[in-house]
Symmetry: C2
């Protein structure tokens, strides 16, 4: 059954059909014309070319405004509930590309309140995680002079008045319909979407005029921004524009890398040995025996190792296609592929971990309003 999956900001289950999801949410596909338009600003990122960022809301309008000299602000975020993994890094890497290409300011919201409300975590836990996650964000090289990190509980004095304005416009009926709340939902979780809306409106609030905002994020966040877009006109803010990506897959072959399966999840702080072990256990498209695979070939379509190359670790299209062909012809076995991916990940992580150490010096400078970590 194609529809047998569920995507909400708090839960992703089943095999996701991203085309069906796009139709369900009512977002617009990124077509060839839009890709060509984007190419005018700089080399199009592989995540766009490969359809990882694949759907949007009002991106064309945002580019029209940009062409008329109206610079937008970039906004994305993180719910700090655990260590950062590759699935978190992926959209942040894309945001970094957008900042570089368009030379824009960036807001990064860490919803420590959300994770407290929705998970079995203390506020101390989520606040500590916010710091750890922020190091990974900063390590990606965002411009420290044009990037501000918001932590909800730290910046609440700025956020709360805007969140109240948003909350006043959202009925319980809407919240229940969009997020599926029921009688057992806690009243903080019902209010929370107002907080996630705030950074979409903060640039206008600060500038005292309408400032366009672009939010590149996982498509699971669309329910929040559908609601935020609905209330925006009534508050005299422009509707935020959206650029949505697919979920980063798990090593177990699942559609979304998740900390609930630690063995299928590569954390930014993993050791080379841990990475080797995890990739070694990855779900692949190989056959049960070497002989059979040499004869029949593998299936890169379903292979987690191939997906990792596709999403993050092999941005050279020629090399990627070669890899797929060799797999299909049985010329490369899963073991070899895993060794190669392990090495790529470890090269990436070694550099990332070094930058993550340097980030400890920079992260204070990037706090919104100068709160102390």
């Amino acid at each position: 059954m194609a529809e047998d999956f569920k995507v909400t900001p708090w839960e992703v289950t089943g095999a996701i059909d991203y085309d069906v999801l796009m139709k369900r949410f009512g977002t617009t596909p990124i077509d060839q014309a839009l890709l060509e338009r984007l190419a005018k600003y700089g080399k199009v990122h592989p995540m766009l070319r490969r359809g990882i960022f694949y759907t949007h809301r009002d991106l064309d309008w945002l580019l029209d405004r940009y062409d008329q000299g109206d610079r937008f602000v970039l906004y994305t975020g993180r719910g700090p509930s655990g260590n950062t993994h590759l699935g978190h890094l992926m959209p942040w890497i894309f945001n970094k590309w957008v900042q570089d290409i368009f030379k824009v300011d960036m807001l990064f919201q860490m919803t420590d309140d959300e994770k407290f409300l929705f998970k079995d975590l203390t506020l101390h836990d989520t606040r500590s995680m916010a710091y750890e996650n922020a190091l990974d964000f900063v390590a990606l090289g965002f411009d420290p002079d044009h990037t501000r990190i918001i932590v909800d509980t730290e910046n609440i004095k700025t956020l709360y008045p805007v969140a109240l304005r948003v909350a006043k416009k959202i009925t319980l009926s809407t919240a229940k319909a969009v997020f599926g709340f029921n009688g057992a939902s806690n009243i903080g979780s019902i209010f929370f979407t107002s907080m996630e809306a705030v950074p979409a409106f903060l640039p206008s609030e600060e500038a005292g005029r309408p400032v366009p905002v672009l939010i590149p994020a996982g498509i699971d966040q669309d329910p929040h921004f559908r609601v935020a877009r609905d209330v925006a006109p009534g508050l005299s803010y422009p509707k935020p524009c959206m650029l949505y990506c697919k979920m980063f897959p798990g090593l177990n072959g699942g559609d979304k890398m998740s900390s609930s399966d630690e063995n299928a999840t590569i954390y930014t702080t993993d050791t080379p040995k841990a990475v080797k072990k995890k990739v070694g256990r990855a779900f692949t498209g190989g056959c049960v025996s070497v002989e059979e695979q040499r004869q029949k070939g593998g299936n890169p379509e379903v292979c987690a190792v191939f997906k990792y190359n596709y999403y993050l670790f092999e941005y050279d299209d020629v090399k990627l296609n070669e890899l797929a062909d060799k797999c299909r012809r049985g010329e490369i076995l899963c073991g070899e592929c895993k060794v190669a991916l392990t090495q790529k990940i470890n090269v990436f992580l070694e550099a990332h971990q070094a930058k993550r150490e340097e980030a400890k010096e920079i992260v204070q400078k990037m706090t919104y309003g100068g709160f102390k970590w």
Copy 2:
């Protein structure tokens, strides 16, 4: 129909039967034994003696703790939606008495967020009103060294983490059952009760140990504190103790003075002329003609002018009883009674307005955390 009335934090309608209300809410009457116990700490306030503050939750437990040397913190508040009237002052005057008798610290919460969420007001409106209302509170003479005024949007950084902990413990089902929310309720209003709970827990939070809290307030606030008391044990806070008063009546004979009928409402900033006019139009227990009243006498039970003497302006029991007797015997007419009350109110307001001016110098010192008005 005795039950044909409604009392919620946002709406009071119908003729209130306070005994029925007490049973409905499940609070305990203040009996003679408790009054006698209270007399040991100082002269019992007329509002207690006359059953205006008439019901409680765990006041005996609070006094036990106090007797063992465990000082409580006093907490009451105001939703700043308009100018202060006598109905607001009444419980504050009582709180002042409690502070004087027990020598305790006091928190005064101004819920500007609440009034924004529940009324057709801007945050700018409610924030301005908070200042105006605070002047009236300060004018009553609370100890500036032991009294702190909280404004929700100003103190949100301190309040929010505690509100989140409270909110996580309250289900939507509970909020709907207690407050009567429905699909059209905005999601901020549903969250709000968490904010009103915070000052009940803040003293424990600040001290790092359980600190008893006494909340003398209008009984219409009980739904908030019923919920706060329910969640307290799960958060390792003591349950706040409650002391509830009846609503201050309107001059029109209604059960609650309300800004929705300006002519029946005496504001703290009213001129002597305005007071004269409003009292002159008050609903009384008089007869249609002077002759009839001389013959049959009036009915102080239903008379707004008499109630004002009873609630606030004649604390001498002998004089009050004399007044009632003279009324019943037709020896005093409504006109005379109105003149006398007008004078008492104007004497009170003249002094209050002078202290309200002086409050402008003191009010800054009393802000929680030192925010600027």
